[in-house]
């Protein structure tokens, strides 16, 4: 977008030049900066640098999945829009909220901020991969069900994945330790008390199953 101006009523204390500078620096003029992906129709046209796709194999939820990935594509994009794994949510697309948390080799990561081509040799686990094939819920999922945890649940898969990852390193946490462990996730419905109670119950269930 080009800003061409004509300013009959210039605010007296703002020179036009500083005004434009600030507006541009603020970066929100065009809503271009976040949440972008290239659909299949124009593949290979790639007018943005690096918009060329490469075929690669990803290990997601124990399955080897072939997928075309752009150089600058994030794992969240690949999971959601190429592999149809929409249980991974995007809340901010910028490492602020944790809604996109998945496990990469057992470690929780914000998938909105991981480039897909960096995880080709790794094991990726998403919310869809927790339930067993016969429909048994993972203990962390079961704990959330039993506590009727969360409200709108948009943050939930991120919290569940963060908890699954955290409990691998600390299977018997105190409430405070667990809170720290999942504090990289934001819930805007904010019933944190019940979330924490669900996750403490999850820790108990995990100990029972191992």
């Amino acid at each position: 977008m080009t800003v061409q101006e004509q300013t009959p009523q210039e605010p007296s204390h703002v020179s036009r030049r500083t005004f434009i500078k600030v507006v541009i620096a603020s970066g929100a003029a065009v809503s271009a900066s976040a949440y972008l992906f290239r659909g299949p129709t124009l593949l290979g046209q790639g007018s943005l640098p690096g918009a060329v796709e490469r075929l690669m194999t990803l290990n997601v939820n124990g399955q080897m999945r072939r997928v075309d990935v752009m150089k600058q594509e994030t794992l969240a994009m690949t999971l959601r829009y190429k592999l149809g794994l929409t249980g991974t949510k995007l809340g901010c697309d910028r490492s602020e909220c944790g809604a996109c948390t998945v496990l990469i080799d057992d470690v929780p990561h914000y998938s909105c901020s991981i480039l897909t081509h960096t995880v080709r040799a790794k094991k990726i686990l998403t919310i869809e991969g927790l339930e067993t094939a016969n429909g048994t819920l993972h203990p962390v999922q079961q704990a959330v069900v039993d506590e009727q945890g969360f409200q709108c649940a948009f943050c939930m898969s991120g919290f569940i994945m963060a908890t699954v990852g955290f409990l691998k390193t600390n299977p018997d946490p105190t409430r405070a330790e667990l809170a720290h462990g999942i504090s990289g996730n934001l819930c805007r419905c904010m019933d944190y008390d019940k979330i924490l109670r669900s996750m403490m119950r999850a820790a108990q269930y995990m100990q029972r199953t191992t």
């Binding site: 605010p11 541009i24 929100a28 065009v30 809503s31 290239r38 998403t126 709108c152 948009f154």
Partner: protein, 828 residues
């Protein structure tokens, strides 16, 4: 409903398994064949007019399919309400796209292309000639003589007095500036009680009240504001098929949102299929959708192809809206026993560009309800600002009124040496408590019931208030503790909606719910009432929700704490209807009078044992009998929406269908009492919330787990307002500076105590058959004020004059011996 198996019990809601496995689909998770993607061009200026748009280069790009501008968006149309009253469309209301953006970040045009990158590249190629216009982001600053106005016509809304029998007149905009004397008042840090433009009200003799008072406090305070920050942004996707619109969006309500879409697109309700099974948070901002939701629908029409528009976090920040701050002045008189004799309240609302909202008036009503002043007057101004639109946010207006009042009461209690719980009990409403303005005949509205004193007593006991308050102000090293209490209230229920279910010959109960699934679980909880009355085990109930092609009944807006009250009444009416039909079927087949039969344990059988039949069998009989029994005939008073749904379901079994026509004497209001203890470090200003309890007076408890979620979740929303959340604007350039989570962070799990507690008074509301009311709103102000009052209990009264209160406010105020916060500005 003496023997309750379902109501009041925890259970697993029917949406939960899909949520924990990631199978629940939110608006952005849908894909349609050949779907295009839309991106928005947002205004870079806080106020401007578009002179011309050149889209040629963009449209010439491969992959670009359509561009939508404000000229393509249908204008707002007059509406005729159910009662036949004409509601005139306000030409100054918000539209999906605009040629005169009134805030930085307002959508100006949208591009649909084969993918998002193409759409964005196309936007880069669009040339716009703008005419920049004067702007204002600070409501109070706009009242200073010579200040710029947010709209060309002025800076303040006025609402002409309605004339009986005529459509309500449209709001107007005027230019209002303070006099020199008022400016002097403002410079002294007091909100001038100058010319008021909102429809004011008063009752009693406030001058006499002040004369009687032994303590008069006169406080000016700025309430906190923040955007809603729903974790799920308001994405929508739409396509047209055979003249019908299919729209997937993120909205709190289901059925009611259809009516918004109908209004925004000027189409018929039967031509809208709305799908929203899950909504990732709304807090009021997605009540019945957002006007921008229809952009994909318009683009889909233009291109003949499905279109999805995903909304980024930054876009969400601007178009999602937020809570208005209220700049308020409270003059309050107290007797030496703590009774409030008079309140003189003046508010200046930061109104955003569209409106006018009702926040000032609502604020005053709840201030009057909670503290029952013997006399009160409210006057106000709703100012216009070039900031994102103000939308209802949990406890809209009520929160602000209580935040203005609570710290004054806390201060008075300390001055008068009265216990904080006690002073609230002295002034608390009880029973059919009156509040707000008087009508033409001098009558004031009153509540259906209220048990604030009971909530305070229960809370004080659980919280060990007496033990804790003994620690107030006690130093341990640099640490000092304080405990605060606050009370809060809000409207908690509407009336007059419909319910619909069918018991089929397979012995199962198929319940249709038009309530939105926004996380409160009321879409399911309310239906437990019907299942309970029908004697149906919950496992045999199947719920249909979130898709208006699946025959839903007319339901209330899922917001404003309305649902639990409104829809348990509808469920009760519907089950009553079904029971009556079952009794008639049983009497027809088995003899005797209908009233000899009762419905329980999946059967309709003679009272006290004897002949009966299963509901499965009765359902079969209902089909054979037809007419009203299987839904071929429906009550005439039900809404047209329900009638269509009932017609589609007729003939499948025994139908329960009814409108809630129960009487109600008074206004349904829920109350809470909240308690918080904080520990502040006087050297660093850092403070922590150690403990929190909120006790709710919501009548009968339907589902404890979801009630607890609402009580504590909304409490934390309020606590966020107290401890740090706010919108920040650059006053010089009119741009928002807190657009992302990290710049305006909602409370995290580490900002709240590790244990938080809630309880309910559990006294049923006498004016509704189930006894239950909603709860989403009252905890917000309670959470905010309990923490604010705990801070002042710890570090004294001369620390803050606005919220949020951050550590720098505390250290600097303690050092200077007076509040150091900026008074009476927006957050600039």
């Amino acid at each position: 409903m003496a023997d309750k198996k379902l109501v009041g019990q925890n259970y697993t809601t029917p949406d939960l398994r899909a949520k924990v496995t990631g199978r629940s689909k939110y608006a952005e998770d849908f894909r349609a064949e050949g779907m295009l993607f839309a991106r928005l061009l947002l205004s870079p200026f806080p106020h401007a007019r578009i002179q011309s748009i050149d889209t040629r280069a963009a449209l010439a790009m491969p992959g670009v399919r359509a561009i939508l501008t404000a000229d393509d968006v249908p204008g707002p149309k007059d509406q005729v309400s159910d009662a036949g009253v004409v509601i005139r469309a306000n030409p100054r209301s918000e539209k999906a796209l605009t040629n005169e953006p009134l805030y930085q970040g307002e959508p100006v045009l949208a591009v649909a292309a084969v993918d998002e990158l193409t759409a964005v590249e196309a936007i880069e190629k669009i040339k716009i000639r703008w005419e920049r216009l004067p702007f204002s982001v600070d409501p109070v600053a706009s009242l200073l003589p010579g200040a710029m106005n947010a709209r060309v016509e002025g800076n303040v809304w006025v609402r002409p007095t309605p004339v009986q029998g005529q459509p309500a007149p449209l709001p107007e905009v005027i230019d209002l500036k303070w006099t020199e004397a008022e400016v002097e008042e403002y410079k002294a840090g007091r909100l001038p009680m100058g010319k008021d433009t909102d429809p004011s009200w008063s009752y009693g003799d406030i001058e006499a009240g002040f004369k009687k008072a032994s303590l008069i406090l006169d406080e000016t305070f700025v309430t906190p504001n923040t955007s809603h920050q729903c974790l799920e942004s308001r994405t929508s996707m739409a396509y047209w098929q055979n003249g019908k619109l299919f729209i997937h969006l993120s909205t709190q309500s289901t059925v009611q949102t259809v009516m918004s879409v109908v209004r925004w697109l000027s189409i018929e309700p039967e031509n809208v299929v709305l799908i929203s099974e899950y909504c990732g948070g709304g807090y009021g901002s997605k009540g019945t959708g957002t006007v921008s939701d229809v952009i994909p629908a318009l683009l889909a029409k233009k291109t003949g192809t499905p279109v999805q528009m995903r909304i980024s976090r930054e876009e969400e920040h601007s178009i999602g809206g937020g809570r208005p701050a209220v700049h308020g002045r409270m003059k309050v008189g107290f007797t030496k026993e703590g009774r409030i004799t008079a309140v003189d309240m003046f508010t200046v609302v930061e109104g955003g560009p569209y409106g006018p909202g009702n926040d000032g008036n609502t604020a005053s009503r709840f201030a009057s309800l909670l503290f029952q002043p013997e006399a009160m007057r409210w006057r106000g101004v709703t100012a216009i600002t070039n900031t994102p639109p103000r939308r209802a946010q949990s406890q809209p207006g009520g929160m602000q009124g209580i935040v203005l009042m609570e710290p004054v009461v806390a201060k008075a209690a300390r001055r008068l040496g009265i216990d904080q719980v006690e002073i609230r009990k002295i002034n608390a409403p009880a029973g059919k408590a009156r509040f707000g303005a008087a009508d033409a005949r001098g009558n004031r509205t009153y509540t259906t019931s209220c048990f604030v004193k009971e909530a305070l007593d229960k809370g004080a006991q659980i919280f060990k208030w007496d033990e804790r308050k003994a620690r107030n102000g006690q130093r341990e090293g640099s640490k000092v503790r304080g405990s605060g209490v606050a009370i809060s209230a809000y409207n908690a229920g509407s009336v007059g909606f419909d319910g619909l279910f069918v018991i089929k010959p397979d012995g199962r109960m198929y319940i249709q719910t038009g309530i939105g699934n926004l996380g409160t679980e009321s879409f399911s909880d309310c239906q437990r009432v019907a299942a309970e009355m029908m004697g149906m085990p919950w496992e045999k109930c199947e719920l249909t929700w979130g898709d208006t092609s699946r025959n839903l009944p007319w339901s209330c807006v899922s917001g404003g704490s309305q649902t639990t009250h409104a829809m348990t009444r509808a469920a009760h009416a519907t089950a009553t209807d079904a029971i009556k039909k079952l009794q008639q079927i049983a009497a027809k087949d088995l003899g005797g009078r209908p009233e000899d039969y009762v419905v329980a344990n999946e059967r309709v059988a003679r009272r006290g044992g004897g002949a009966g039949m299963t509901l499965a069998h009765a359902a079969q009989r209902a089909i054979e009998l037809g007419g009203m029994y299987d839904g071929h005939e429906v009550p005439k008073e039900i809404n047209a929406f329900t009638k269509r749904s009932a017609a589609a379901l007729a003939g499948q079994g025994l139908m329960g269908v009814a409108k809630d026509a129960y009487p109600r004497d008074g206004a349904s209001v829920s109350f809470v009492a909240a308690f918080a203890e904080v520990e502040a470090d006087v050297e660093t200003g850092v403070y922590r919330i150690l403990d929190y309890l909120c006790v709710a007076d919501v009548g009968t408890v339907i589902h404890p787990a979801s009630l607890g979620g609402q009580v504590l979740g909304r409490s934390i929303l309020g606590i966020g307002h107290a401890i740090g959340q706010r919108w920040v604007y650059d006053q010089q350039y009119g741009v928002a500076l807190a657009r992302r989570f990290y710049q305006n962070k909602p409370p995290s799990i580490l900002d709240v105590p590790a244990h938080m507690d809630w309880a309910a008074v559990e006294l049923p509301d006498p004016e509704t058959p189930v006894g239950a009311r909603g709860i989403g709103e009252p905890p917000v102000a309670a959470g905010c004020c309990a923490v604010l009052n705990a801070i002042s209990a710890a570090v004294g009264d001369e620390v803050f004059v606005r919220a949020p209160v951050t550590l720098d406010h505390i250290v600097t105020a303690l050092e200077m011996g007076r509040p150091t916060q900026a008074r009476l500005t927006a957050n600039v």
